[in-house]
């Protein structure tokens, strides 16, 4: 009964909103387009984004503008969902912003580090301040990574970043790692008053994410960063669903990549390394995302009337925007449409 009270309304709303998601044909049609404006026009004339773009002159719209519009639309829809929840559930919905805000913070930090002007950042950074409640204006004022850290004072991110500020040590790598570690630490440490079943689902779901990202991290750390096993282990997320600490540690201490592949082949995550070497690097991210996408769908069916429908909606929304942006990138680099398709999450 409790479940029905909490979720009947929001799930109905989500079903209605999901109707607006792009169809398979939409992606296939957009891939054939030749310019950003063509894609924008397609979205305006043929999809539910027409409502959103109606007032906007798309004749010389840039990739960044379009991305900003799409992301703000996602924010608007996420904010809508908040009204359907009460108490700590509201807090949880807000915490879905953490991931996106951290992504934007990383982009911002990179351009600050490289001394770029803010106007030239290619990404719109629409999510800044959505979770931390820090005004984006004050973040944009930062001239160094240190400024950026101090301008985040008062947010939950601050305590993870402040150890970076003593002397010479604040650098980009550590900033990004600290934020990532902070993200998983925040979602682990919050004590939300939500139902027991939802807690169980969240544990499963977040554990799954942690597993995937841990494997990806260890693989990349070994291959590209040549970090010591101790450091690798220290940078892993300290929980998981299928992987135990012992397995994680063993992965970090694997002598070489071959040994690592063998270890992972025995888990359910073996699919990550199935194909030959070259494809691993380029498509790993996409493989992870597709796994997440289908896993969410499965969980969605398994636990009707639970928090997972909302999570599924938000992630699907993200993937849709990600796919649109992938298509725009493919257009920019003149990638043949067959190649471009291999980067999309929602269609194969």
């Amino acid at each position: 009964m409790d479940k029905v009270i909490t979720y009947a309304a929001v799930n109905a709303k989500i079903r209605a909103l999901e109707k607006d998601f792009l169809k398979r044909d939409d992606y296939l049609n957009m891939i054939q387009k030749k310019s950003v404006v063509d894609v924008a026009r397609y979205l305006k004339d043929n999809t539910s984004y027409g409502k959103l773009l109606r007032e906007i002159n798309i004749d010389n719209i840039s990739r960044r503008d379009l991305e900003d519009i799409l992301k703000n639309n996602m924010i608007k829809n996420m904010d809508k969902l908040v009204y359907y929840f009460r108490d700590d559930y509201k807090e949880f919905i807000r915490s879905l912003y953490i991931k996106y805000e951290i992504e934007d913070l990383k982009i911002l930090s990179r351009s600050i580090f490289n001394g770029k002007e803010l106007e030239t950042i290619e990404k719109p950074l629409s999510f800044l301040g959505k979770y931390s409640r820090i005004s984006p204006k004050s973040l944009f004022k930062s001239r160094t990574i240190r400024d950026l850290i101090y301008s985040l004072e008062g947010s939950e991110f601050f305590e993870f970043l402040i150890p970076l500020v003593d002397g010479r040590r604040e650098n980009l790598f550590r900033f990004e790692m600290a934020l990532d570690m902070g993200y998983f630490s925040i979602i682990q440490s919050r004590k939300l008053k939500i139902s027991r079943e939802d807690r169980k689902i969240l544990k499963k779901w977040e554990g799954l994410l942690a597993d995937l990202y841990n494997i990806q991290w260890v693989y990349r750390g070994k291959k590209f960063y040549s970090l010591s096993p101790e450091e690798l282990l220290n940078y892993t997320i300290n929980f998981g669903d299928k992987l135990t600490f012992r397995e994680r540690k063993a992965m970090c201490y694997a002598k070489n990549l071959e040994e690592l592949y063998k270890m992972i082949a025995n888990t359910i995550y073996g699919f990550l390394f199935k194909k030959e070497e070259m494809y691993r690097d380029i498509y790993m991210e996409r493989r992870i995302n597709r796994f997440i996408y289908y896993k969410l769908k499965a969980l969605d069916r398994q636990f009707s009337l639970s928090i997972i429908q909302t999570i599924d909606f938000v992630w699907s929304f993200e993937f849709e925007i990600r796919d649109i942006i992938s298509i725009l990138e493919a257009i920019r680099y003149d990638t043949p449409s067959e190649e471009a398709r291999k980067f999309l999450v929602k269609i194969a």
Binding site: F160, D166, S228, E230, E231, L233, N234, Y235, T236, N238
Partner: protein, 688 residues
């Protein structure tokens, strides 16, 4: 009364006067600004071509919107830090504003003071920092205080590296589980909420590896002082005494700041007031227009304030500004004057409820009095009780005193009063009907009578609404709405005839004359053809505003809706009687429960609880139901509420003599005393 008449006031003057003129306007607080370009381009704008106006007329065709945006961030910083440094409560006082001054010069002066003060402030801050650093050392040393050795032995050893660090619990967990691979001795010293404090000792050659590992654990180094010797406890003592010394220095520095405060306090207070008004002025500039040398400003001013504003402007600026005062033109202008309601004290609080529906348009008749009167009657009739009404009245008065403007306290006290009056009529005190005799009627004893009275009362109100609508349409010269619509004259006659026939049939049981039926059908036809008829009468160029087919389909259904709504609107007022009964019924339920209690205390408790529930729950329901009757049954007939609210450019300012505020206070208290007085008279008279 009701909607206050407005005039359009224009001020034109040299640009360098703009800030000062605007300051005067804000202090005066009666100008509702409008966009100057819109005003200048409106058809009724006229400037007599004489010698005085010649420069103005020259500039008229070349006006541009005023676009310069001043940046106040620096000024704000100066004022804010000065206020916080000297701990001054920010207030906007009139005495600092009505002097003649130049803002920029003043700010320059203020920032000079700021620079001077800052030197001392910086020194204090430096000392504070040094104290904080020492406190941090002390804090860190405390972790080591249980070890009884010279800390210099740790910080200055040659081949081993020692450090005290803080890491999060989950990272400590990782460290512990992987201890066999860590090239150092690690010792846990303390656990503090989320963090673990550890010391590590490692050979210097391995320090770099260890640093990398710790870095990946996101550690914070806890620094230790190097220039001290002895055990941790002894070093702490030494640091403590050093802090004491520095605190004394700070004390004396603060004293010298105090001198600055005495010297400059007036200037600082001025600073805040002047900055705030300057920001407000900057806001207003968006509505101004600029010529080459002149600025143009226009706005609506209530008639009663025009002379004051004009004379103030002329007194201060003399011939340097031109003040234009124009009447509000009814037809030609595309500017809608704002509505400023002014009603008698008794009805003023109901303006909130009217505005909740919509602000009356400037030309519309203000419905507040009609609304207030009928609302009080409806509420009282549904919730008539001497005791409970008095409680509402009393609560309302308190709210009015405490929260002042904007609260519903005023409404509450007035409906409470009405409830009390009806309480005497029904003879009900806190639900009980045994204490006083009814003046007119007991609802429960005359159920049918009460219900019918409700409907009759409703009919009277609906007729009032018809008349209001006809008057409003008359003012607006809207023939269609006033004569032929279902809320206009045609609707009114139809309603009256319908009522008469029903009355005739029910009371005399005779059949109705066919003439009435024909008239009614004729009236319905008038309503159907209202638009073409009206347009014919006023000789409009088009008979229909949209396609005739659509129009007739809509109006065809309109007939059905008219018939339905006439019946439902009227019967809706049964609830007035029904709630009067319900009020008694609810009390009877509690009275019965009270009688079932075995102790007299118990039954008293039930009665008190019952009364609380009745006041809170039924009071709220009746409040809403009465509002519903007003909004849905009556407002839809005559009130459009598409006006613009009068929002003059002004600020909350504390006046120099405190005159304005005390006056307001006295008035409201007097009125409240008046209410209580009135209540006492009624109470004494009926009670005896």
């Amino acid at each position: 009364m009701s909607v206050e008449k407005m005039k359009i006031v224009g001020v034109i003057g040299k640009k360098n006067l703009l800030s000062r003129v605007l300051r005067l306007v804000v202090l005066d607080g009666s100008l509702h600004t409008i966009n100057a370009l819109v005003r200048v381009n409106s058809s009724d704008f006229f400037l007599p071509p004489n010698e005085k106006n010649i420069v103005v007329l020259e500039e008229l065709p070349f006006l541009k919107p005023c676009s310069s945006k001043k940046d106040f961030t620096k000024d704000e910083e100066v004022v804010k830090s000065l206020l916080s440094l000297f701990d001054i409560r920010p207030q906007i006082r009139e005495e600092y504003l009505d002097q003649d001054y130049n803002y920029d010069d003043f700010m320059k002066q203020l920032s000079e003071i700021y620079d001077r003060v800052r030197l001392t402030a910086d020194e204090i801050e430096e000392k504070m920092n040094s104290i904080n650093k020492k406190r941090e050392y002390i804090n860190n040393l405390k972790y080591l205080s249980r070890f009884d050795f010279d800390i210099e032995q740790l910080t200055c050893i040659k081949h081993l590296a020692f450090r005290l660090i803080k890491i999060s619990r989950e990272n400590y967990d990782k460290l512990k589980k992987n201890y066999e691979n860590i090239p150092a001795v690690v010792l846990k010293l303390a656990v503090e909420s989320k963090y673990v404090i550890v010391v590590s000792i490692t050979p210097v050659i391995l320090e770099e590896i260890l640093e990398k590992i710790f870095r990946s654990l996101n550690y914070t180094l806890l620094p230790l002082p190097v220039e001290f010797r002895g055990t941790a406890a002894k070093v702490i003592e030494e640091l403590d005494s050093a802090i004491d010394k520095e605190e004394k220095v700070i004390e004396s520095l603060k004293k010298s700041l105090e001198d600055y405060k005495v010297k400059y306090i007036i200037e600082l207070k001025k600073g805040y007031s002047r900055l705030e008004i300057e920001k407000k002025i900057e806001e207003l500039k968006s509505d101004m227009a600029n010529g080459d040398k002149l600025f143009f400003m226009f706005g609506f001013v209530p008639v009663s304030n025009v002379t004051r504003l004009k004379s103030e402007l002329e007194a201060q600026f003399g011939g340097d500004v031109i003040v234009l005062v124009d009447d509000v033109d009814k037809g030609g202008s595309n500017l809608h004057p704002p509505t400023k309601l002014s009603n008698m004290k008794l009805f003023k609080p109901f303006e909130i409820l009217v505005k909740m529906y919509g602000t009356p348009a400037y030309y519309e008749k203000d419905p507040t009095i009609f609304f207030g009167l009928t609302y009080m009657l409806l509420f009282g009739a549904m919730f008539g009780d001497v005791g409970q009404g008095f409680i509402l009245l009393f609560t309302g008065l308190i709210l009015e005193l405490v929260l002042k403007k904007g609260s519903l306290g005023g409404v509450l006290s007035r409906i409470g009063l009405s409830s009390t009056v009806f309480g005497f009529i029904y003879g009900s005190v806190f639900g009980s009907e045994k204490i006083i005799p009814p003046l007119i009627i007991r609802p429960m004893a005359n159920i049918n009578y009460i219900l019918i009275t409700g409907v009759v009362f409703g009919i009277a109100l609906i007729l009032g609404a018809y008349i209001y609508n006809i008057i409003n349409s008359g003012i607006e010269k809207n023939v269609e709405r006033g004569l032929f619509s279902r809320n206009g004259a045609a609707g009114l006659i139809f309603y009256l005839i319908l009522l008469y026939t029903i009355f005739h049939v029910v009371v005399t049981h005779s059949s109705i004359s066919p003439a009435f039926i024909y008239i009614m059908i004729g009236l319905l036809l008038l309503m159907v053809f209202k638009q073409p008829l009206a347009n014919k009468l006023i000789h409009a160029d088009k008979l229909y505003q949209k396609s005739p087919a659509n129009y007739y389909i809509e109006e065809g259904f309109g007939v059905i809706e008219t018939l339905l709504s006439i019946i439902s609107n009227t019967l809706s007022f049964i609830r007035v009687g029904a709630f009067a009964l319900n009020h008694v019924g609810l009390y009877i339920a509690f009275a019965t429960m009270a009688r079932m209690m075995t102790t007299s205390w118990g039954s008293l408790a039930i009665l008190v609880l019952g009364n609380i529930i009745i006041i809170a729950l039924e009071g709220l329901i009746v409040f809403i139901q009465a509002l519903r009757l007003e909004y849905y049954e009556l407002f839809t007939k005559y009130f459009r509420g598409d006006g613009i609210e009068y929002v003059p450019a002004k600020m909350e300012i504390i006046s120099s003599t405190g005159k304005r505020i005390s006056l307001f206070h006295k008035k409201s208290i007097f009125c409240n005393i008046g209410n209580i007085y009135l209540y006492n008279i009624i109470n004494l008279k009926w009670g005896s």
